[in-house]
């Protein structure tokens, strides 16, 4: 790899792959950009240039836009909170020497392997169904009226389902972080008179700060585009319409490709803003 010759040969060999990747990425993005400036409604046979940024203006000014941004933020925030807090607690638990540790660890990771659509369906039909769901039985057992989770607490239900899927990821990363904590530090704190709670607050938590930021960053990027869980459970009803879902509705339900594409581009821009914002915080946290 060192010589000039072999390096240029390597570049040449790489070129097709790089080209393919670029096309793979750029073509859909460029198409979306292109469509976003069109008035393109296939069912009505309309296909012409839109009036400048008309699509963007219409997408942003509709009342469902702000609602969907807000819903997205609430969902992502809620999921992050549950997964981070739950992840820390689970990681602490799994770090203890317990019987059957290996099996317990695999079980904890298992939800991560279940497809989002499948897990949402399982939760919807087996747990949250107001007639046949396990929760309904539980409620009836205690003499309470079963709750129709998906219509009475729709956002909470979806947050819960997605959290269940992402908890293993957070747990796994936080567990490795906890295991890298120097045991002598804990012993020193113990000798310094710190109670178990103070040790957690002053030693473990600061040690985990870095891992927590990584979890937040990675999850945010993935969670901004949750779709399957909403599609399968509420279909975007009951105020669960996120930005991603709104774009989907504009394209497929309203058959307005131009408007949907504009929404897609806006979603990309917003996601980038969030990402940059998070990177700043993470960068700060990773520095020291």
């Amino acid at each position: 790899m060192a010589t000039q010759h072999s390096r240029s040969a390597a570049k040449l060999m790489n070129a097709p792959a790089v080209f393919l990747l670029l096309v793979w990425m750029l073509v859909p993005l460029c198409m979306t950009l292109y469509f976003s400036f069109l008035d393109y409604r296939p069912l009505r046979g309309v296909y012409e240039w839109a009036d400048g940024f008309e699509n963007y203006a219409r997408f942003v000014s509709s009342s469902s836009f702000t609602d969907s941004v807000l819903t997205t933020l609430i969902m992502v925030g809620g999921i992050l909170m549950i997964t981070v807090i739950g992840g820390v607690l689970l990681a602490l638990l799994l770090d203890q020497p317990i019987w059957g540790q290996g099996i317990v660890r695999i079980l904890v990771i298992a939800p991560f392997f279940v497809m989002p659509t499948v897990s949402a369906l399982v939760w919807k039909n087996m747990f949250m169904n107001p007639v046949n769901g396990l929760f309904a039985y539980l409620w009836k057992f205690f003499g309470a009226t079963p709750i129709d989770w998906l219509s009475q607490a729709p956002i909470f239900s979806i947050v819960w389902i997605v959290s269940w899927q992402w908890l293993p990821f957070a747990t796994l990363i936080l567990l490795t972080a906890i295991q890298s904590l120097d045991s002598e530090q804990m012993e020193a704190a113990e000798m310094d008179g710190a109670s178990a709670l103070s040790r957690f607050a002053y030693i473990t938590l600061p040690h985990l700060a870095r891992a927590i930021t990584v979890v937040v960053l990675i999850q945010t990027i993935f969670l901004l585009s949750i779709f399957a869980e909403i599609f399968v459970t509420t279909n975007g009803a009951f105020g669960t319409r996120t930005l991603t879902y709104l774009v989907y509705q504009r394209v497929l339900e309203s058959q307005n490709i131009g408007l949907g594409s504009a929404g897609g581009i806006i979603a990309v821009i917003l996601a980038n803003i969030v990402a940059i914002f998070l990177m700043r915080i993470v960068g700060k946290n990773l520095d020291n």
């Binding site: 002598e184 000798m191 710190a194 600061p206």
Partner: protein, 334 residues
């Protein structure tokens, strides 16, 4: 007060017994050094005293109170770890102040104590730094500072200098000894370096495989080692051991003679040999002499400017018969 008494203390990890029944008394204000080869149980013993490990049987008394089941924080002891175990996200000030904070001491009173400790340890200029921005020696001092502010009954040190370079080690050795003179608090110090043990200790405890081989002042151990192990462990370079006919002349199975108690001559002496490797230190020269019938050869301390070189024939003889240590078949001193 810092009186610590161990009574029939044992420690097993699963099936393996690391510390067989062990009795030890540490008096108030003493500087006690645990010394022994790697894996002999020094750290384990220290951690038992600290309360970081539970004893398998036996009891530990601190200041005449049974402390066997008291948690570490309540024993009134402070520990300095080999890895320093500083809290990486806290400044030096917060590190030193952590035990105070845990004890509910805050504000001006805490600041005063931290500043005092920092002054004693020359850390005043570094109080706002994080541990990652300090040198090894400074980190070591922060760890000691964190121990000092608690005003413990006794300090426990687990090989605190092993991560430092040779020059800094000598320096810190002096500083810790100085600190002991200032505070007059009991200190228990673990090391496998016999030089540290000899220079710092009031009392040395020599350990082998969890057993106490001998307890005594450095000079006592140097002058009257009770067995081969202690004789070989204390003193540098280590004592020469001779078996066979030479030993029989002294009615012993093995005799030992220290390099500094041998005389080298070009013309006559008890043992004839050939000079092997020699180490010229300037003040002294240590000659490794290969002698027929003595397996490991003999090491002798000669003058710094001695005119003996590799391959020369040399005669060695003990300086004085009273400087010869005699041991029986079981390695016990006679």
């Amino acid at each position: 007060m810092g009186r610590i008494t161990l009574k029939d203390v044992t420690k097993s990890f699963g099936e393996t017994q690391v510390i067989p029944p062990l009795n030890l008394e540490i008096n108030d204000g003493e500087f006690v050094v645990f010394v022994g080869p790697s894996g002999c149980g020094k750290s384990t013993l220290l951690r038992l005293i600290a309360g970081l490990e539970d004893v398998t049987s036996g009891s530990i008394n601190i200041n005449d109170m049974d402390a066997t089941n008291i948690p570490p924080a309540k024993r009134g002891l402070a520990m300095v770890f080999q890895s320093y175990a500083l809290y990486p996200h806290m400044s030096v000030r917060k590190n030193i102040g952590f035990p105070l904070k845990m004890a509910g001491i805050e504000g001006a009173q805490a600041t005063k104590k931290i500043d005092e400790a920092a002054k004693v340890l020359n850390l005043t200029d570094y109080l706002d730094r994080k541990p990652g921005q300090l040198s090894g020696g400074q980190r070591q001092r922060v760890a000691i500072g964190r121990a000092i502010v608690r005003e413990p009954d006794a300090f426990l040190f687990d090989e605190p200098l092993s991560n430092l370079d040779a020059a800094l080690r000598v320096n810190m050795r002096l500083e810790i000894s100085e600190l002991h003179h200032q505070l007059k608090t009991t200190m228990i110090y673990v090391t496998h370096d016999q030089v540290e043990a000899m220079t710092m200790a009031d009392k040395i405890v020599v350990l082998r495989a969890g057993n106490i081989e001998q307890v005594g002042s450095p000079i006592e151990l140097y002058k009257n080692p009770q067995n081969l192990f202690v004789a070989g462990f204390i003193g540098s370079p280590k004592m020469n051991f001779i078996n066979g006919t030479s030993a029989l002349e002294y009615d012993a199975h093995t005799i030992g003679v220290r390099p500094e108690h041998l005389r080298a001559s070009k013309s006559e002496g008890v043992w004839k040999g050939v000079v092997g490797v020699s180490e010229h230190l300037g003040s002294d020269t240590f000659l490794r002499v290969n002698v027929d019938g003595i397996e490991d050869g003999l090491v002798v301390r000669a003058e710094g400017d001695v005119e003996l070189y590799h391959g020369d024939t040399v005669y060695l003889s003990p300086e004085n018969d009273s400087r010869i240590y005699k041991f029986d078949r079981n390695g016990q001193a006679i």
